[in-house]
């Protein structure tokens, strides 16, 4: 990850006399996936709309890729895509025409428009429905089209507001894969969602809002990230396995929980392989190694406490 890509300073926003965002400030690096979390009414959607230039804050500044969103909103729009929490698609147009229009309004030339529409449809799995009208698609497919519209011009920043709401489990899995793929391709992504377990799958950062008053940024991935908790399933005496884990530098805070062992561990694939080989060499009968889950949730709730 590189230098700060999104910079927000002292952001204040009011609806009437209600302060929705109060002195919010944070920096997000390029290539990060940030989980935007917080209770209902915390100001998540307002923050995303301010980042997209759809709302003008009372005070503060927003820079995306060095562009001042308040001074140059249209230039900023070329760098960002925003999938909103409703289906912003043209029902009477086909999927192809929806995507061509999405690419055209961001200033792509005619050849790039065609390529962009094909790429975006493929990215969300709508390639086989290009000539179908958007209004005839199911809810999940319309949601995918809305996402495709947001990323048709290959923005450097993608803002997603509750992208998984209303999606079935398969569509949610597809969405997680899509977000990981887009991130691998270099896109910086901010995802607002209530479903913390899904955000955990792909997020590198967590930004929490509380009543719009402040923003806390936590690093979930990379060298600065706190190591996640893993559970080792066993057959036999857990104390032998616990002894086997001692002396491994990657492992810390190991403890026996219900006959299994939980420990903090970076969990990279190669490190997992070495850990399992080490334990098997020691004669430990391992049945299972998996993250305990709920890391993001614990971090979020821990912050709240």
């Amino acid at each position: 990850m590189t230098a700060d890509f999104v910079s927000v300073r002292s952001l204040v926003f009011e609806y009437g006399t209600t302060r929705a965002l109060d002195q919010v400030g944070f920096d997000l690096p390029a290539g990060s996936v940030t989980a935007l979390v917080g209770p209902n009414g915390a100001g998540k959607t307002t923050l995303l709309r301010c980042l997209a230039g759809l709302e003008r804050p009372l005070a503060g500044s927003i820079a995306i890729d060095g562009i001042d969103v308040l001074d140059q909103p249209r230039l900023a729009h070329t760098r960002l895509g925003f999938q909103q929490d409703f289906f912003g698609v043209y029902d009477e147009l086909t999927v192809r025409r929806n995507l061509l229009h999405a690419a055209a309004i961001q200033g792509l030339d005619r050849h790039d428009m065609e390529a962009a529409s094909i790429w975006a449809a493929e990215a969300v799995g709508l390639s086989d429905r290009m000539e179908q009208k958007a209004g005839a698609l199911s809810r999940g497919l319309r949601q995918r089209l809305a996402i495709a519209r947001a990323l048709a011009h290959r923005p450097r920043l993608l803002l997603m507001d509750e992208p998984a709401s209303g999606l079935d489990p398969e569509a949610r899995r597809h969405l997680s894969t899509l977000i990981r793929n887009l991130n691998s391709a270099g896109m910086t992504i901010i995802v607002s969602s209530h479903i913390l377990s899904e955000l955990e799958d792909y997020s590198t950062h967590m930004l929490s809002l509380r009543d719009g008053h402040s923003a806390q940024l936590a690093v979930l991935g990379g060298e600065k990230a706190p190591r996640s908790r893993w559970r080792l399933g066993l057959v036999g005496d857990a104390r032998d396995a616990l002894a086997g884990l001692h002396g491994l530098s990657e492992v810390s805070e190991a403890e026996i929980v219900g006959g299994d062992i939980e420990f903090s561990f970076a969990g990279e694939p190669l490190a997992r392989h070495h850990l399992l080989r080490h334990l098997m060499d020691q004669g430990v009968m391992v049945t299972d190694l998996a993250p305990t889950g709920g890391h993001l949730e614990k971090l979020y709730l821990g912050e709240k406490a």
């Binding site: 230039g53 055209a104 309004i105």
Partner: protein
């Protein structure tokens, strides 16, 4: 032009073409128009050109103004307007695309009418035809602009907005009711020529030119509102430029032949035109507490200027021109000073009402206007005649001491606005 080329040039226009010009609709329009013309011919209607003119009125004004307003309100209702707001499109391009694209079906019908025109009996002058076409586009632009202005007051309101926008569009578009043509009707009684800044013009070309210029201002207004919707700061420049144009336009009629009017008259007329436009803008611009706070928190003067409500510089200009009229020795300086005081009073009253009342502020302001300018003068006349009235209203030949009345009203309203601000400003 191929679809990808047009899409590249004006995405909004191409999107509207996809939606509006379906094969069925393309066939239906000429068939219906042909049936109407054939029917009129069969019953022996002699002047079919006149009926084609009515068809153009129906298509471009009655239907076109509706379509123009709906091209915006439908997008808001369907949740797609926020997608458009995220675009990098040029505001004028988006405005033109929406205006022409949203009404393209009625223009398609109008094109059939124009094609039929040379082949049917009757009379229609080129000037009249140009007036209908320009008036139609003006009406549609006005309708779209009003729909966007109303959206600023209440983003969720739709049905009433469309109807109101359509009515304003029709009024602005009918040449016999539009501003430029109303002027033309008025001066027609004076003769066939008009004096403007000392030069003589034929009324026909003069009013047609004014209609074209008015259309240009409508288009600029729509583009200005689109620009705001795309995330830019409001900027008072376009309305200020429009106000200066209208002031110059109005004062132009004071110069007849070699007659040069005195400065107090010129500045007085310009001030009146400016004040009238400031009132219009004041009523049609939403002004929220957050807008005022944003203005005060702006970091530098350039930002503050860009965040000013459009009526404010025009009001200041009107006050300055009014003051010039008073100071340059106008005979009725006390009348002008009283009018200025009431102008300040009204601005402060509007601000106070907008701050204190969260709903139906426009209705409340209209009631207030009727009370202050309709009922109160009648009551004062009935009680104490012109002497009493002069203490409240600008009155011709009133003694200077009666200025105390309007000045006191202005100060009281300013105090009320200050109190309302302190009550509503929040954290």
């Amino acid at each position: 032009m191929s679809a990808p080329s047009l899409l590249r040039m004006n995405p909004e226009l191409q999107r509207c073409l996809w939606l509006e010009l379906t094969p069925t609709r393309l066939v239906l329009m000429p068939v219906l128009l042909g049936l109407v013309l054939a029917g009129l011919h069969l019953i022996g209607t002699p002047n079919l050109k006149e009926w084609l003119g009515y068809a153009l009125y129906f298509l471009l004004l009655l239907w076109g103004t509706r379509l123009a307003a709906e091209s915006f309100t439908d997008e808001v209702a369907q949740g797609t307007w926020d997608i458009q707001r995220l675009s990098a499109t040029n505001p004028l391009g988006l405005a033109l695309g929406k205006l022409v694209g949203g009404t393209i079906y009625v223009w398609y019908g109008a094109a059939w009418c124009l094609l039929a025109l040379p082949f049917v009996p009757g009379d229609m002058g080129g000037e009249e035809l140009a007036g209908i076409l320009i008036g139609g586009l003006s009406g549609q632009a006005a309708s779209l602009m009003v729909a966007m202005l109303l959206h600023g007051f209440d983003a969720n309101r739709r049905r009433g907005s469309t109807a109101l926008a359509q009515v304003v569009g029709i009024v602005a578009g009918i040449p016999s009711l539009g501003m430029a043509a109303a002027l033309s009707s008025l001066v027609r009684e004076w003769g066939t020529e008009i004096h403007w800044f000392g030069a003589q013009f034929d009324i026909g070309p003069f009013t047609l030119t004014q209609q074209v210029l008015t259309l240009g201002w409508w288009l600029l207004g729509v583009a200005w509102l689109v620009r705001r919707q795309l995330g830019h700061a409001p900027s008072p420049w376009p309305f200020l430029a429009f106000a200066v144009y209208q002031m110059a336009f109005s004062t132009g009629f004071l110069f007849a032949g070699d007659l040069v009017p005195p400065l107090p008259v010129v500045s007085g007329v310009a001030a009146l035109a400016g004040a009238a436009l400031a009132y219009v803008s004041l009523f049609t611009t939403p002004w929220h507490v957050a807008d005022a706070k944003r203005l005060m928190l702006a970091g530098d003067w350039a930002k503050r200027w860009s965040l000013l409500p459009s009526w404010l510089p025009v009001a200041v200009l009107a006050v300055i021109l009014g003051a010039i009229s008073v100071l340059s020795g106008g005979r009725e300086w006390s009348l002008a000073a009283a009018a200025l005081a009431l102008f300040v009073r009204d601005i402060a009253l509007v601000a106070a009402v907008r701050l204190l009342s969260r709903r139906r502020t426009t209705l409340l302001l209209l009631v207030l206007a009727v009370l202050l300018y309709g009922l109160l003068p009648e009551v004062l006349d009935a009680i104490g005649g012109i002497g009493l009235r002069a203490w409240i209203f600008p009155t011709l030949d009133a003694p200077a001491v009666t200025l105390v009345g309007p000045l006191a009203q202005a100060l009281a309203s300013l105090a009320l606005a200050g109190w309302a601000w302190n009550r509503r400003k929040g954290p």
